[in-house]
Symmetry: C2
Subunit: 151 residues, 2 copies
DNA sequence: TATTGTTATACTCTATAACTATA
DNA sequence: TATAGTTATAGAGTATAACAATA
């Protein structure tokens, strides 16, 4: 093997650049469905929840007024619905429409295929090791007060 | 050890969530200097280049008109300067000011410390392995037409 | 004619502050 | 009074299309 292009970037640059590569893939598939990253994240967090506007603001780390606009636009496109929250008549729950769920599923599937393709340069054992190490960092950061889950 | 919270996320979710954690850290330090992510990326790519507007558009994957506005705002804040490009009188080169370079360095240093802290949960050997595997994916994606380098 | 950069325009995304309705 | 959500406003960030200057 030549040494050519294979110098290690170091943990800091390797993780930073990996983050941009991975988010770039997600952004690309979202854009193919005419979704911004934040709209894609929205559909992602709604896959298994029907949060209130308030909870959504916390999940997406946005101000509640930003969420109002985000949901306005998503609702206008038929991706999500506002629904009453039962007991508390101030609260509103947001949920995916059938169309929104379909698009969320499509984007996730495309992203999965892309990540699988990007990890083709790793052996099965290496891929497993990477997954294990990445999981450790994510879990550790979550304990420290990190972000919620994603796409 | 209990099995508790340690199930592997799988390579797709592990990489996706890791990307959000890492970018979240970068965004946090950038915001502490009142920089958006794109402004932080801009300072990052200018650390070792004086690109034309055109080249900057390619490096940041933006339309040239978006770059005009980005540089307008950065220049107004004293972070960058426009300078003539020598031979081609149509072209303009963008470079960091002293203040811009200082801020870029500060953000990078804070981010480095944060990544180091986040990888504390890994042994030195594990950290090296993660760095190696992440580097492989980044290099492989770059060959496939990925993004340029970052912060 | 082709390329480099800017301008005009329109839209998304975001936060702050003030507001309404409910608790 | 406090909480959930919206509205009004302002500004960053983005792309498209039309433009000016230079090659």
């Amino acid at each position: 093997m030549q040494q050519q292009d294979e110098e290690d970037l170091g943990i800091v640059d390797a993780l930073a650049q990996l983050a941009f590569v991975v988010q770039g893939k997600l952004a690309r598939h979202a854009a193919a469905r005419d979704l911004s990253m934040i709209q894609a994240r929205l559909l992602g967090v709604l896959r298994d929840r029907e949060p209130t506007m308030q909870e959504l603001a916390r999940l997406l780390d946005l101000d509640k007024s930003s969420v109002t606009g985000l949901i306005d636009r998503a609702e206008k496109r038929g991706l999500v619905q506002r629904a009453p929250s039962g007991d508390d008549r101030r609260a509103i729950r947001v949920r995916l429409t059938k169309s929104g769920r379909q698009i969320a599923t499509d984007v996730r599937r495309l992203f999965q295929a892309d990540v699988a393709s990007a990890t083709q340069c790793l052996s099965s054992a290496e891929s497993k090791r990477l997954s294990t190490l990445a999981t450790r960092i994510v879990k550790s950061s979550a304990h420290a007060g990190g972000l919620p889950r994603m796409p």
